[in-house]
């Protein structure tokens, strides 16, 4: 800091920074990307370890014997489901009661803002059934949840069967210290949302549900089980929840530890672990796994029924049974034993899971990257914005003749700039508000005038407003102010840079993946956009790097990483459905990605667009 208190040296430093600004920025960008890609390289990552004492040393013995009976129950459930044509509520209530649980039901109705074409639902009406195993001599203060969705068709019958089998087995054991809630939820996430809101008596998204009758105190952990075949080859662990929240890493560790102990193949992001980290293919495998996690987390949507628990500070994960064409198969008894072991250990918890990390990325199930390791990658990108802002600040101060000092330059009459930038800022944000509100509000009108369905209407309106925004604001300031000055765009860009830096910084703190992906695409254009660059080329680059296009690339990359590449046509259709899903996630579960993009990131990008066309 002595460097800065000496005016001479300070001047030298700022001179250096302004002269070498562009190369430093490029270096930072490349370093940021390289750092990020390096995270998947195994020697740079940490091996996972169990931090929670209560779950570590106390080994438990798993003795669940009744896998076959569970499958039979699952088949019975399937038959009743088919007969009723939905959730067999009465049968479930009776079955759970006969297993010695306290059984309750909750009914809910939900009208979606527009029809969901992926799942073909609009007016949703359903019932959740849950049974509580009361722990002996426990005062109903703590609970664990095991849930299985009652899905359409033939899916998940085995999961419900196993859930009931475990309920029966758990009931005969004496060592439970926490109540265990066995939940069968209808309409997957909508049912789960209704149940959780009922349990916590909140209403964040305006659903309509009947109040719950029985509770088990504060829920400590939850697992959601998805199982659609009698035997499985591997179990997949899904961690990503609402708004990119993740459960405590100890939950993943627990799952991994038991998979190792019992000898079940386990995957994350559907990818097995490989040992050849020093080969290129090994590295790219890890990188793909990590990239998948980043993309899923950035999407901000719950990737399993567990995703909604995380809002309530309940550590939760989904376990998905996968049956592929390998030789090695695992039967239901083994999965039951695995779950029994996990619940026994969770039952041993004295405190909430808090010892391990909440912010992490996983390049494989046994390796993780903690927040301390991945944040520099984002920091390197964010520092570009600050460097550019510093450069602009110095330029703004230096440009009027007569002042020698950057600090003194700030006093100069730059006030015309402040007023002139207000108009584009306000107009961009108004466009953002329009993008956020209009698609749903105007769907009826669109359906009347155009031959499209409601869902298409919403998505197409959103895209239309998004594109219209490009044409709108860059002409307005001239009407009000006359010619834009050189200083004007500089002030505007300074504001836009700082605004973007704050936005991305905050986003990355909450949801690193989203912040990083946005920074990857927005930082270059924010850094180098001026009115003096060649218009056509710059405009093309800007559009290509706009948030909407970033989303499109993400869709393609995601499909590529999942090894299900799509054609351009399908990709586009997928892109449209992703937009509608994003809006639905916001309306149904309170996901924040859509409002963030529409209300903040998009206006910020419009500001930069405005600078390009500054006259």
């Amino acid at each position: 800091m002595g460097l800065l208190s000496d005016p001479n040296r300070r001047r030298a430093l700022t001179k250096l920074l302004t002269r070498l600004n562009a190369p430093i920025c490029v270096m930072c960008y490349l370093a940021g990307v390289a750092w990020f890609m390096g995270l998947a390289f195994e020697p740079f990552t940490l091996r996972t370890y169990m931090s929670e004492n209560a779950m570590g040393s106390t080994m438990v013995e798993e003795r669940f014997p009744a896998g076959e009976r569970a499958l039979a129950t699952g088949r019975e459930f399937a038959a009743h489901k088919k007969k009723v044509g939905g959730m067999p509520v009465d049968w479930l209530v009776k079955t759970m009661q006969s297993r010695g649980l306290e059984v309750f039901t909750q009914s809910f109705t939900r009208k979606l803002p527009f029809p969901d074409e992926n799942k073909e639902r609009y007016m949703v009406r359903g019932t959740n059934v849950y049974g509580i195993l009361r722990a002996p001599r426990a005062p109903r203060t703590e609970a664990l949840v095991l849930s299985a969705p009652c899905s359409e068709g033939n899916n998940n019958n085995q999961a419900v069967g196993l859930l009931l089998g475990l309920a029966q087995y758990f009931r005969s054991q004496i060592h439970w210290a926490k109540d265990i809630i066995f939940l069968v939820n209808e309409h997957d996430l909508i049912g789960m949302q209704a149940w959780l809101e009922g349990y916590h008596h909140t209403n964040t998204t305006g659903g309509d549900w009947s109040p719950l009758q029985g509770r088990g105190g504060s829920i400590q952990a939850a697992l959601s089980l998805e199982l659609s075949s009698d035997v499985i080859t591997s179990l997949d662990l899904v961690l990503e929840g609402l708004n990119g929240q993740l459960p405590n890493l100890d939950l993943a560790n627990l799952f991994y530890a038991f998979c190792q102990k019992i000898g079940v193949l386990c995957t994350i992001q559907g990818k097995l672990q490989r040992n050849d980290w020093d080969t290129t293919s090994g590295y790219s495998h890890a990188a793909q796994t990590m990239m998948l996690m980043v993309l899923k987390q950035a999407s901000g949507r719950p990737w399993g029924d567990h995703g909604l628990f995380l809002r309530y500070h309940i550590e939760a994960a989904s376990i998905r049974g996968i049956n592929s064409f390998r030789q090695y198969k695992t039967d239901t008894t083994t999965i039951g034993r695995l779950l029994e072991g996990m619940y026994r250990k969770l039952n041993n918890l004295l405190e909430r899971l808090h010892q391990s990390y909440f912010f992490y990325l996983m390049p494989s199930l046994s390796r993780f990257v903690s927040i301390g390791y991945y944040m520099p990658a984002f920091g390197l990108l964010a520092v570009i914005l600050l460097l550019r802002a510093l450069d602009l600040w110095v330029q703004l101060g230096a440009s009027p003749p007569g002042t020698e000092d950057g600090v003194a330059g700030g006093v100069q009459p730059s006030s015309p700039g402040v007023l002139s930038i207000l108009t584009p800022v306000v107009i961009s944000h108004m466009t953002g508000v329009a993008l956020y509100t209009l698609p749903i509000l105007s769907q009826e009108m669109a359906v009347q005038h155009f031959p499209v369905s409601e869902t298409e209407a919403v998505v197409l309106t959103a895209i239309a407003i998004y594109t219209a925004g490009l044409a709108l604001p860059h002409n307005t300031h001239r009407l009000l102010q006359g010619e834009g000055t050189e200083e004007g765009w500089r002030v505007l860009k300074l504001v836009a840079l700082l605004y973007l830096a704050v936005l991305l910084g905050c986003t990355a703190l909450i949801n690193f993946s989203l912040g990083f992906i946005l920074a990857l695409s927005l930082v270059p254009i924010a850094a180098f956009i001026t009115p003096h660059t060649p218009k056509a080329l710059s405009a093309a680059i800007m559009v290509l790097l706009s948030p909407g296009c970033t989303l499109l690339y993400c869709v393609f990359v995601f499909q590529e990483l999942q090894e299900t590449p799509v054609s351009l046509q399908d990709g586009w259709m997928l892109f449209l459905s992703v937009i509608s899903q994003g809006i639905l996630d916001h309306a149904l579960y309170g996901s924040l990605v859509y409002p963030l993009l529409a209300l903040l990131i998009y206006p910020c990008w419009l500001l930069l667009w405005n600078i390009l066309f500054w006259k």
């Binding site: 800091m1 009361r134 916590h200 008596h201 909140t202 509770r215 105190g217 504060s218 909430r352």
Partner: protein, 694 residues
């Protein structure tokens, strides 16, 4: 030496006592006693003649009385001073109580006689033989100075579980308020007696509970208690420093019961204005002398059971207490042990008061975990012991089995069968019980041990009558800033509304927003007719909220209140702060409309478990319901961080803040390069000349 001196002193004392005793006995009591005895014997004879069918049973009873008499006779020689320590103490105590020893003996005999009669009037034969024993007009003589009764009630629950409730009652006619003068104890536990006299306790209720009573599955318990430890005490109105006495008392009790009662301090003690009225006799209802505290986190285990058992006259050596083996008692769904001390009427005329100590233990055994799915219960299966004898010190020792739902034995089969039946109105419901009298040798049969067996006939038991009142509580909301406490009170009565008293004690670190208090039933605002709210003081006292709410019939009444979670000082966190902080159960006290009209003359005939709470109205009964305790998470710092935080803060302060502060507050000027030597010389000359400098 000391022992000898003590013996001599005692001998002298005993002799003095004896002379006094005989003089008094001669003057006053002998006639009366003899009269009473002859009447009682007469009646017994009449019964023998009248009810020939029952002769065997009555003979049994007579035998039992004989037995008791024999036992008393055996102890009689000990009246003379002897070296036998136990007898010595025994006698001395009796003498000290300033009552004639022979009189006491006679009286015990009489009590036995009397007991037989009561049993006869109370018990109804299964085969409905006309009862000729309806002659309870005999004025019962005053009972002994102290007596002990024990009782076990077994109630098969509709869920297939089984509920066992032990009650032990010691009554003692003494004056604890004379302070240290009460120093001789026979049946009453001395450790407790000393505490009571030292702290001038008028009523003391303490319970340790592990688990939560599931009202909706199990119905009402005989004695409700909240999870954890609960202690409430009424002090005598002579106590001046109630808070000091309370503090000391909790610490002493903590030692007696091996429990963490010493954690009771001003932050969890309240003085409820209406919810906890004295249960015994007495007119003082000034809440200044009442202290109430709950420790919801207290974990109850064998270490609490052992000292509790030691307070019994027979310990766990004989009588019903042999069943209390901790490995079985704690292999259950619910475990609650309690101790209630209060003044009660000496007899039905209630001319004088005696002190009653009631020790209760309630257990619920789970069908699925300990029954292995078979619906079959026996004493051995429940307690891994059988009964072989009554406590020899007990004046009555009985086992009751609830057979109300099983009049013809279609639901379950009870063996060995007993011809004795008893009816009692418990919690507003008339129940029928099979009675096993342990003082009767015939009860134990050939095997000399009693092992009752309940074998269910039907796989499904009938539907349970929904409990008329039950409560629930939970925390709503998410995040660590605010929250909302919801208390639900269910009135399941089809057509009658009744008022309930709700008591809520909330620790200070949940800052209640009392203006957000809402009470709604059936979607409409329900205005409480009485609200007593005492706001908390940080680190000093908790919130206390008492309300009198009318519950409409067949409704749910919801009481909600928002709160803010306080940030504690870092030393105030528990060692496991991420577990959460407990909020004790709220207490719902109510007079619930009775299912059946209550008997008016139930004061004498009721078994112990039915006569605990005083009933003022015949049509309703008193009931107390505890809700679940709450576990609330408070904002918790990451306690593994202090080292990192200290390092980081020091660095930031030392490096960052100092220099940044410098930069922001100083003004900088570019310094002129220093002039050369020639210039300086020239300037000096110029200054001397008075010419402007260069």
């Amino acid at each position: 030496m000391a022992a000898h001196r003590c013996n001599i002193f005692m001998l002298v004392f005993v002799l003095c006592g004896l002379t006094y005793v005989f003089v008094r006995a001669d003057i006053e009591d002998t006639n009366h006693v003899k009269d009473a005895e002859s009447v009682a014997v007469d009646i017994a004879r009449k019964a023998n003649i009248g009810a020939s069918l029952r002769s065997t049973k009555t003979e049994d009873q007579t035998q039992a009385a004989e037995k008791e008499r024999q036992w008393e006779a055996e102890t009689n020689p000990a009246d003379a001073p002897s070296d036998n320590k136990a007898d010595h103490v025994h006698d001395t105590m009796q003498n000290l109580d300033s009552r004639p020893a022979p009189y006491a003996k006679d009286q015990t005999q009489e009590a036995a006689e009397e007991e037989r009669q009561w049993e006869a009037t109370e018990v109804k034969e299964a085969d409905h033989v006309p009862d000729t024993m309806q002659t309870p007009d005999v004025p019962p003589p005053t009972p002994a100075k102290d007596q002990f009764q024990e009782e076990l009630v077994i109630r098969p629950l509709h869920s297939g579980d089984i509920y066992a409730s032990f009650q032990f009652r010691t009554m003692w006619d003494t004056d604890f308020l004379r302070g240290s003068k009460v120093s001789h104890y026979r049946l009453f536990p001395k450790s407790l007696g000393q505490v009571i006299s030292k702290f001038s306790v008028r009523e003391l209720h303490i319970s340790f509970t592990q688990g939560y009573w599931r009202t909706m599955q199990w119905g009402q318990p005989f004695l409700p208690s909240p999870p954890g430890a609960e202690l409430w005490v009424w002090f005598q109105d002579t106590v001046t420093d109630v808070d000091g006495a309370w503090k000391e008392l909790t610490n002493v009790l903590s030692g007696i019961f091996c429990a963490s009662l010493n954690f009771i301090d001003s932050t969890n003690t309240v003085q409820p204005s209406a919810s906890f009225k004295p249960l015994g006799l007495g007119n003082v209802t000034d809440q200044r002398f009442l202290r109430y505290a709950v420790l919801p986190r207290e974990i109850v285990c064998t270490e609490n059971l052992t000292p509790w058992k030691k307070l019994l006259p027979c310990g766990s050596k004989a009588g019903l207490a042999v069943l209390m083996k901790s490995e079985k008692l704690f292999h259950s769904s619910f475990h609650s042990q309690a101790l209630h001390f209060r003044p009660v009427c000496q007899d039905w005329k209630c001319k004088s008061t005696v002190w009653e100590l009631r020790q209760t233990l309630n257990v619920v055994f789970d069908l699925h975990t300990s029954g292995q799915g078979k619906r079959e219960w026996s004493l051995f299966k429940m307690f891994s012991r059988t009964l072989t004898e009554a406590c020899p010190l007990a004046s009555s020792s009985k086992v009751y089995v609830d057979v109300t739902d099983n009049p013809q034995g279609e639901l379950f089969e009870l063996s060995p069968t007993t011809p004795l039946l008893s009816q009692a109105v418990v919690l507003g419901d008339r129940r029928t019980y099979s009675v096993y009298d342990l003082t009767n040798q015939a009860t134990f049969g050939q095997t000399r041990s009693l092992n009752m067996l309940l074998r269910w006939r039907a796989a499904e038991s009938g539907d349970m009558l929904r409990p008329l009142l039950h409560g629930e509580r939970y925390v709503a909301g998410y995040g660590l800033q605010t929250g909302e406490i919801h208390t639900l009170m269910y009135n399941n009565h089809p057509y009658r509304a009744f008022p309930v008293l709700l008591l809520d004690t909330v620790p200070w670190y949940l800052r209640l927003y009392i203006h957000t208090l809402t009470v709604t039933s059936k979607g409409r605002d329900n205005k409480p007719s009485y609200i007593h709210y005492q706001p908390s003081k940080d680190r000093l006292r908790p919130h206390l909220l008492e309300m009198l709410v009318q519950l409409p019939p067949n409704s749910v009444t919801e009481v909600t209140m928002q709160f803010e979670r306080a940030l504690l000082k870092w030393t105030e966190y528990t060692p496991d702060p991420n577990h959460g902080f407990y909020v004790g159960s709220s207490v719902i006290s109510a007079l619930v409309p009775s299912v059946v009209a209550m008997d008016t003359n139930s004061t004498r005939e009721c078994p112990l478990f039915s006569s605990f709470f005083p009933c003022k109205e015949e049509s309703s009964y008193f009931m107390r319901v505890y809700t679940e305790p709450l576990l609330v998470n408070l904002p918790t710092p990451d306690f593994s961080m202090p080292y990192n935080v200290i390092c980081l803060t020091c660095t930031v302060v030392a490096v960052g803040y100092g220099s940044l502060y410098n930069l922001l507050t100083r003004t900088f000027q570019v310094e002129e390069p220093s002039p050369g030597l020639a210039k300086r010389l020239a300037n000096i000359i110029r200054r001397l000349r008075g010419v402007p400098l260069l």
